[in-house]
Every structure is written in structure tokens, then in C-alpha cells.
């Protein structure tokens, strides 16, 4: 793996840290008389993580730190971050505005981030899909979806 060696290093370190954190946190868990206590299994996993993390760190360093570059693609990063952000906003508003009213906006925003050029088609598709999905799930499948509840 020539590319992303830097990332591997970071992840290896993170894994080691995570293992340590789990070991520390599991100190607070009770012990049991018979069998494993609540702490037994997490500790085992933590140790495995420590070992794996160390192996990763060592093997990455062994391959040499020389050819490590980090060239983030700014556009791509913004797109991904944007998607994630909009999704969390969508979820946050979902219980207030309800699925039926909020989803068309969400779909439209996503389509735009994805780069779909024809905005009219996108708008129609957003509203159309949201309505179809809503009807399908609440009427045909009898599944609960978040409803409008502002007042």
C-alpha cells in the first residue's frame, strides 16, 4: 500500500489509544464471582486492538516515512461534508416538520450536491419520490413515519 501510508499510521495510533481508553474505562465495571465479569470481554477486545494497532504502526514505520503525501481533494471533501451536514440537519428537523414536508427539500439538496444539472427535473423528482415513498410506507406498509408536529 503505497498511498495513504500516513493515514494508516494515524489509524494505527488511534487504535492503540482506543485500546488503552477501553482498558481504563473498564476498570469501573463490576467483577463477577463466576464466569466473565462485565469487564472481561471488553478487556480482551481492547488488548487485541492494542496489539493490532501496534503492529500497524510498526509495519507502517518500517516501510519508511519517505513517500507519504497528503493531497486532499478540496471539492470532494466539501461535497461529502455538505452531505453529512445536511443529513444531520434533516434528522434534527424531522420530528418537527415531518417526513412528508421535509423530505422533498432534503432530496433536492442532495441531488444538487451530487451535481445533477437539470433543476426542474430534480425538483419534480424530489417531490414525487417523497410523496410516493410516504404513501407507500404509511398507507401500504402501515409503517410509522415522523409527522408534522410544530404546534
Amino acid at each position: 500500500m503505497k498511498k495513504n501510508r500516513f493515514a494508516d499510521l494515524i489509524i494505527g495510533v488511534l487504535m492503540v489509544l482506543l485500546g488503552i481508553v477501553v482498558l481504563v474505562l473498564s476498570q469501573g465495571l463490576a467483577q463477577a464471582k463466576v464466569g466473565l465479569g462485565p469487564a472481561g470481554y471488553p478487556r480482551a477486545v481492547a488488548i487485541i486492538m492494542l496489539v493490532l494497532g501496534l503492529v500497524m504502526v510498526i509495519s507502517t514505520l518500517a516501510k519508511g516515512l519517505s513517500r507519504m503525501t497528503w493531497q486532499p481533494d478540496r471539492q470532494a471533501f466539501l461535497r461529502v461534508a455538505g452531505t453529512v451536514l445536511i443529513s444531520f440537519v434533516y434528522l434534527w428537523l424531522l420530528n418537527r416538520i415531518g417526513f412528508l414536508f421535509l423530505t422533498p427539500f432534503y432530496l433536492f439538496a442532495l441531488m444538487w450536491i451530487f451535481g445533477y444539472k437539470n433543476l426542474k427535473v430534480a425538483a419534480l423528482a424530489s417531490i414525487g419520490s417523497a410523496v410516493v415513498i410516504y404513501l407507500l410506507f404509511t398507507k401500504a406498509f402501515m409503517v410509522f413515519l415522523p409527522e408534522f408536529s410544530m404546534f
Binding site: 500500500m1 495513504n4 493515514a7 489509524i11 487504535m15 482506543l18 477501553v22 474505562l25 473498564s26 465495571l29 463490576a30 463477577a32 463466576v34 464466569g35 466473565l36 462485565p38 472481561g40 470481554y41 471488553p42 477486545v45 481492547a46 487485541i48 486492538m49 493490532l52 494497532g53 500497524m56 509495519s59 481533494d73 470532494a76 461535497r79 461529502v80 452531505t83 453529512v84 443529513s87 444531520f88 434533516y90 434528522l91 420530528n95 417526513f99 432534503y106 432530496l107 442532495l110 441531488m111 450536491i113 451530487f114 451535481g115 445533477y116 430534480a122 423528482a125 424530489s126 419520490s129 417523497a130 415513498i133 410506507f137 406498509f141 402501515m142 409503517v143 410509522f144 413515519l145 415522523p146
Partner: protein, 500 residues
């Protein structure tokens, strides 16, 4: 026995029964294909219908739904790289690469055929040796379950493709994730930081949706300029050639058998089984290197295994009254509500119901094959829709799927969080399959080890004293040794090539 089977067949071929059965299969495939909806939800949806119908008809309809949903999950797995149900998780490994190569139709066709083979194999086992097989299931004690889980976890080392270390790390994280919530031993909260919601822990479904589906959406949005539509699909060719069929037939049979036997063990489901089958077939295959790039054998193995579990899971349900997996437990609830008493006496008291089920299962496999091939012909057209429109819709379906799990947004946030996590995993080359295995098998290993030790009063030798447990542990050690040996061999080869 044969006579009863004939009368069972006569029953299911009556127009009403046949219609309801087909309806069940069709609904099952559709529900299975939507990421986030699974067979359990399908059964609940059909409850209003179930109330109103004759109990035998209801049973075959539910069986149809069960089998259909196992196949349906693969459609999403192949087309969208996201398993529609947890049992389709191994199907993405070879199914989606095939779609990328333009062979989505053939992939779904092979999936349909393999599901058919797996289903037939398991139905035959069901009919011929159900009570005997049930006895085998009862031989499993806690220590054996633990070793089975360990065996499953060592599959991780092999299911990781080229980079074993990354696969193991992924798996370890999966195992850790499963510890969050209430511990199964004294009921303490673990790593919940006082949050009432985290008491839930992380359910496998939102993790699956996040790590496979949502991460895929994010990956697509990242490389947005690239393929706007996946390579032109070869839709006309949805039926594999005879040569190809001969190639994967054996994989389907073996996969189906594995599915039956693991499915019988209560508490194991389609997900574990399909990975196990996938791995076993990979080891036995003449072209193991093709696995992960679109191997028909791999696809066949995963698909027939998950349908093999349908017959397998029905065996303990019908013979012991114990559900074999999640879907069968919901089925059991539904059947109870309409007054069907499932349990050991079913064979003696209501033999006609039992044979109706047997006959129904046989016919269902054919229905599924037919509908499946139809989907193979038709659904690749879905891929003609621009990814830019399709992916947002997939995202919304993921939200709904996670939401329906418990009608609140907690699981959706979890799915979203794992989507981001899964994105980084994909970006840096960490395979997702071991994570899923870790989340499913971790608790199984922990609870059973704990039970085994409590029963034996901290005597660890119980793990090697029991033959089943010992066998699985030996297999596990063997697998790890083999994997390490192969890794060392590859490393040496690579060094030799570098030097040359």
C-alpha cells in the same frame, strides 16, 4: 409420508392458497430489496391479512415471505452495493463487482438460481430429516456456541481479502461496538456515559445500513464526476451459460447445505451463515483469487446459504417450538396470534399442517426462481437512472429503514454516524464485512463464554472437553495458521518480485 405430501401439494395448488403464497413471495422480495426493511417487518405488515385467513394458508404465505426476503436482499446488494437484509451481506462481495462490470442481470439471475438451489436443498432436508436434525441442534451447549462464534470470527482473517491486518482491525472495532449498552451478565451499563439512548447499544441493522449503504452514498458523492451511470448493463444476458452453471452449481449445493446446518442452530441467522459458506467455498474453489472481483461461485455460495437457512430455521421452529432466527421468531408470534400451536406436537397432532408447509416450501422455491429471473431481467434498468438521482433516494430509504426499527430517530443517528465511519473505512481500505461479523459474533461469543464458565464454575477446560467445541476451536486455530502462512508466503513472493 408420500401420500401426505401429495395432499399437501393438492392444498397449496388450490387457487386461493397459491395466490396468497405467490403474494407472500412477491412482497418478500420487494421488502427484502429495500435496505432497512427485513422479513420481520414484512410479516408484521401482513398481519391484518393473516388474521383473516385460514391458518394453513397463512403459514405458507409467511414462509413465502421469509424465502422471498432472503432473495430480495441480494437485489439491493448487487445493484446498490448495500445489502437489503443482513443475510445479504456476503452477496455484496461478489454481486456488486459483477454489476460494475455490466453484468447485473446475470448476477441477479445467478442469485435467483442459487437461492432456488439452496431453498430446495433445505426443503428436502426439512422434509426428510427434520426431527433428526433438530436433535443435532440440541447438542449445542454454550461452550459450543462460543467456539462456533470464535470460528466465525476467524473467518474474518480470511474474509479480509488482501490485507489481513486491516480486516482484523475492522473486526476488533466491530467486537468493541457490540459491548456498548447493557452488559448481559449483571445488567450493568457499559460505556453508555449516562445516556438513556446508548443503553440500547448499537443494533446490527443501523450499523449495517450505515457501514454499507450510507457510506456508499458518501463515497459516490465524493467521486461525483466519475461514473454518472454505472457501465452499460448487459441486460439481455441474465441467464448464465451452461458452462458457467456447471462452474457454480457445486458451490450452490454446498452453500445450501451449510445454510441448513447452521440455520438449525437456534440463534444463528442468515448473516453468519452466508459469510461462513462464502469462506468455505473460497477455500475449496479452484479460483480463489477471483473471489471479491465477481466470482460466480462466491455469489452462488452466499446466496444459496442464506436461502438454505430458511429450511434450517424452520426445523427447530416446527419440531421444538423454538425459533431458529429473528424472522422465525416473529413468524412464531404471528402464528400464535392466529391460534396455530407450533411445537413438538405439531408433527403428531397436525400432520396435515406440517405437510402443507413442506409442500408449500417446495412450490415457493419455484415461485421464487420465476420471480427472481423476472427481476433479473427487469431490475438492472434501475441502474440506468443517474446515480445523482438514485443515491439521494437510497439515502432516504436508509433513513426510513433505520427509523422503522423502533419508531424513533436514535437508530437513524446511529446509522448516519456509522455511515461517516464507514466512509472513512472505505476510503482507507478497511473492509466492512469483518466489522459486521464482529458486531454479530462478538455478543454471541461473550454471552456463551460467560454461560459456559458459569455452568462449569470457572473451569475453562469445558471448551476443549466437548467434542463440538473442540472441533470448532481446532478449525479456528487451523484457519488462523493457514492465513498467517499464506500471508508470509505472499510477503516473501512480493519481496522476491521486488528484488527481481
Amino acid at each position: 409420508m408420500f401420500n401426505e405430501l401429495i395432499s399437501g401439494l393438492q392444498f397449496v395448488f388450490q387457487p386461493y392458497a397459491f395466490l396468497m403464497m405467490s403474494f407472500g413471495v412477491m412482497v418478500g422480495i420487494i421488502i427484502g430489496a429495500i435496505p432497512g426493511l427485513s422479513g420481520s417487518i414484512g410479516i408484521i405488515l401482513l398481519m391484518p391479512l393473516v388474521y383473516r385467513m385460514d391458518s394453513n394458508v397463512a403459514m405458507v404465505m409467511l414462509c413465502g415471505l421469509f424465502c422471498g426476503s432472503m432473495f430480495g436482499g441480494s437485489v439491493a446488494a448487487i445493484l446498490l452495493n448495500t445489502p437489503g437484509t443482513p443475510s445479504a451481506a456476503a452477496t455484496v462481495l461478489d454481486g456488486h463487482p459483477l454489476a460494475r462490470q455490466g453484468e447485473a442481470g446475470k448476477a441477479i439471475g445467478v442469485a435467483a438460481i442459487s437461492s432456488f438451489i439452496g431453498g430446495v436443498v433445505s426443503t428436502i432436508c426439512l422434509i426428510l430429516i427434520a426431527p433428526e436434525l433438530a436433535k443435532v441442534a440440541l447438542k449445542f451447549h454454550a461452550a459450543d456456541y462460543f467456539s462456533l462464534a470464535v470460528f466465525g470470527l476467524t473467518i474474518m482473517a480470511s474474509a479480509s481479502g488482501k490485507n489481513m491486518l486491516k480486516g482484523l482491525m475492522s473486526g476488533a472495532v466491530g467486537m468493541l461496538i457490540a459491548t456498548i449498552g447493557t452488559d448481559p451478565i449483571v445488567g450493568n451499563s457499559r460505556f453508555t456515559f449516562g445516556s438513556g439512548y446508548l443503553l440500547n447499544g448499537f443494533n446490527i441493522l443501523p450499523v449495517l445500513i450505515g457501514v454499507f449503504a450510507i457510506s456508499e452514498v458518501l463515497m459516490t458523492v465524493r467521486t461525483q464526476a466519475a461514473d454518472a451511470t454505472i457501465q452499460e448493463q448487459n441486460v439481455r444476458n441474465f441467464f448464465p451459460s451452461f458452462k458457467e452453471f456447471k462452474g457454480f452449481f457445486w458451490a450452490a449445493i454446498v452453500g445450501g447445505l451449510i445454510g441448513v446446518f447452521i440455520g438449525i442452530v437456534p440463534g444463528t441467522g442468515g448473516a453468519i451463515t452466508c459469510f461462513l459458506a462464502y469462506n468455505v467455498i473460497q477455500r475449496l474453489s479452484r479460483h480463489p483469487e477471483k473471489f471479491g472481483q465477481g466470482s460466480l461461485e462466491g455469489l452462488a455460495a452466499a446466496e444459496s446459504a442464506n436461502n438454505g437457512t430458511t429450511g434450517g430455521a424452520l426445523i427447530p421452529m416446527l419440531t421444538l417450538g423454538i425459533p431458529g432466527d429473528v424472522v422465525t421468531s416473529v413468524m412464531l408470534g404471528a402464528l400464535t396470534l392466529i391460534g396455530v400451536k407450533v411445537g413438538p406436537l405439531l408433527f403428531t397432532n397436525s400432520a396435515d399442517t406440517v405437510y402443507t408447509i413442506f409442500a408449500g416450501m417446495l412450490v415457493i422455491q419455484f415461485l421464487m426462481l420465476g420471480l427472481g429471473l423476472f427481476y433479473a431481467r427487469v431490475s438492472p434498468y434501475v441502474l440506468r437512472i443517474s446515480q445523482k438521482l438514485l443515491m439521494p433516494a437510497v439515502m432516504v430509504l436508509c433513513v426510513i429503514g433505520a427509523f422503522t426499527l423502533s419508531n424513533n430517530l436514535y437508530h437513524v443517528y446511529v446509522a448516519m454516524g456509522f455511515g461517516v465511519f464507514g466512509f472513512f473505512m472505505k476510503k482507507y481500505g478497511y473492509p466492512a464485512a469483518p466489522l459486521v461479523l464482529g458486531v454479530i459474533l462478538g455478543p454471541m461469543a461473550e454471552q456463551n463464554l460467560n454461560r459456559a464458565l458459569t455452568l462449569s464454575r470457572n473451569d475453562w477446560s469445558v471448551l476443549v472437553a466437548r467434542p463440538i467445541s473442540l472441533s470448532f476451536l481446532v478449525l479456528s486455530v487451523g484457519l488462523i495458521a493457514l492465513a498467517l502462512f499464506n500471508a508470509a508466503k505472499d510477503a516473501k513472493k512480493a519481496k522476491a518480485q521486488d528484488a527481481a
